[in-house]
């Protein structure tokens, strides 16, 4: 019985890997991260404007934040510094990462 569940788990994981390879994300696909920034200030994101800081911030977001949680749908830019200071401690972000994410959220 246990072996069946183990096998089922591995099949799900394998299927997920195969599916994800078969359907790579288009580069123009907006991510939750960019939508977060867009919702928070009603402007185009730095990433969509192609700025270096926006790209760097988005990369850092995808590499760090989204490993644990989904991006919030939107929040006030007045707390973006507080959010990042909290996450710097919780996720052990570097000072550089914190600054780039702050620029990303407030382009």
């Amino acid at each position: 019985m246990n072996v069946k569940y183990l096998l089922s788990g591995f099949v799900i994981v394998a299927a997920a890997c195969g599916f994800s390879k078969a359907a790579p994300q288009p580069k123009t696909q907006p991510t939750s991260a960019t939508q977060t920034a867009a919702h928070s200030n009603g402007k185009q994101t730095a990433a969509s404007q192609g700025s270096v800081h926006g790209d760097e911030g988005q990369r850092i977001f995808e590499q760090n934040c989204s490993r644990c949680h989904n991006a919030p749908d939107g929040f006030s830019p007045r707390i973006s510094g507080t959010v990042l200071r909290h996450m710097r401690v919780r996720a052990s972000l570097s000072q550089h990462d914190e600054q780039e994410l702050l620029r990303f959220m407030n382009p």
């Binding site: 939750s32 490993r67 707390i79 200071r85």
Partner: protein, 355 residues
């Protein structure tokens, strides 16, 4: 629910309210550097049901989190949990009994000393493995229940009272290393309960491979001294919404592991499409007894458990969490059905003009 660590009856709720008032006063008394540094109130509100052996329990939960920066380098933060659990009376009696639980999960001050060192003081989550610090909030967990081994290395309280040094030791484009080292004193205080212990965690992260490997160690420093060892591996392939997370922990009396995989497809209009919001989740876990001394919160006999979950990520930070688990052990196999809905909130403590 694995989140309520310090439990106390309803009669002590007033004391909790006073503590919260003190925290709020501290937060409001601070001077804040920039327009982006307004104190925030975040957290999750949820309603959960769990059916185990034919009995269904209902549990509304709220987990608020307060964070307030002071100046450019200090942050005061705290998280709590309040819940009411309704359980069937049993023995043929109709109706439900209900119990209130309240808890300060942690209350800590953070001082960013250098780009690589942050000093944490107060009551903090013990940095052992990944679940306690990263995945235990209800708005993050993929499952309503924590892993079976989640209590290993957490010194029965999940929190330490003392000091911790942590930060990013090295951060390069190809790799980064972070660390946390703490010392906790023993405290019998109802709100700040902790054991005397010390330990830490170190992790290596490879951004290109999206791979993280980490090790944890801590030692109980009172009564019978015991060592706890942990290891974790997380992998999130690039350009996918697939996550594989795993953890192993070994204590003096038991050991075990869990492996969790979740996935959201981007093939049908992206993550925010109707289909893309579905999130199938699978978790496999096993625990192994080394002796039968009951002291670590793990099952008394070797146990295997498979969790099959299907979550749905609604707009506006709301999440539906459902799962079915089958647990196998020599004391009897059982089914566990769980459903829940969680709303995550995040807003400034007070209104103000943005720059």
């Amino acid at each position: 629910m694995p989140h309520c660590r310090l439990r106390f009856p309803l009669a002590n709720a007033a004391r909790t309210a006073r503590h919260i008032a003190v925290v709020l006063t501290i937060l409001c008394a601070g001077r804040y550097g920039g327009a982006q540094d307004t104190p925030l109130l975040s957290g999750g509100v949820g309603f959960f049901t769990s059916t185990n052996g034919g009995n269904t329990t209902y549990q509304p939960v709220i987990e608020p989190l307060l964070a307030a920066p002071i100046g450019q380098h200090v942050l005061i933060e705290s998280r709590g949990a309040l819940s009411e659990t309704f359980t069937p009376r049993g023995n043929g009696l109709p109706g439900y009994d209900h119990t209130f639980f309240g808890a300060f999960t942690y209350l800590q001050g953070d001082a960013i000393l250098t780009p690589h060192v942050t000093l944490v003081g107060g009551s903090f989550l013990i940095p052992f493995g990944t679940y306690n610090e990263r995945l235990s909030p209800i708005w993050i967990s993929n499952f309503q229940d924590g892993p079976l081994i989640s209590s290993l290395g957490l010194m029965s309280t999940g929190t330490g009272l003392g000091g911790m040094l942590r930060g990013s030791a090295i951060s390069r484009p190809k790799y980064s290393i972070d660390y946390a080292a703490y010392f906790s004193t023993r405290s019998g205080n109802e709100q700040l309960n902790s054991e005397r212990s010390s330990g830490g965690r170190a992790s290596l992260y490879l951004p290109e491979q999206r791979l993280e490997i980490g090790f944890s160690y801590n030692r109980l420093l009172q009564e019978t001294h015991e060592n706890f060892y942990g290891a974790h591996v997380w992998w999130e392939p690039k350009n996918t919404a697939f996550r594989l997370r795993s953890e192993f922990a070994r204590g003096h009396h038991a050991q075990g592991y869990w492996i969790e995989a979740d996935y959201r497809t981007q093939a049908f209009g992206g993550l925010d499409s109707f289909i893309g919001r579905f999130e199938p989740v699978f978790r496999m876990q096993q625990t192994f007894r080394r002796d039968t001394i009951v002291s670590d919160g793990l099952p008394l006999v070797n146990t295997q458990r498979a969790d099959f979950g299907l979550d749905y990520n609604l707009p506006h930070n709301t999440r539906i969490i459902t799962s079915y688990a089958r647990q196998f052990s020599s004391t009897g196999d059982r089914n566990i059905w769980e459903t829940g809905i969680v709303y995550r909130f995040l807003f400034p403590v007070w209104k103000g003009k943005s720059q």
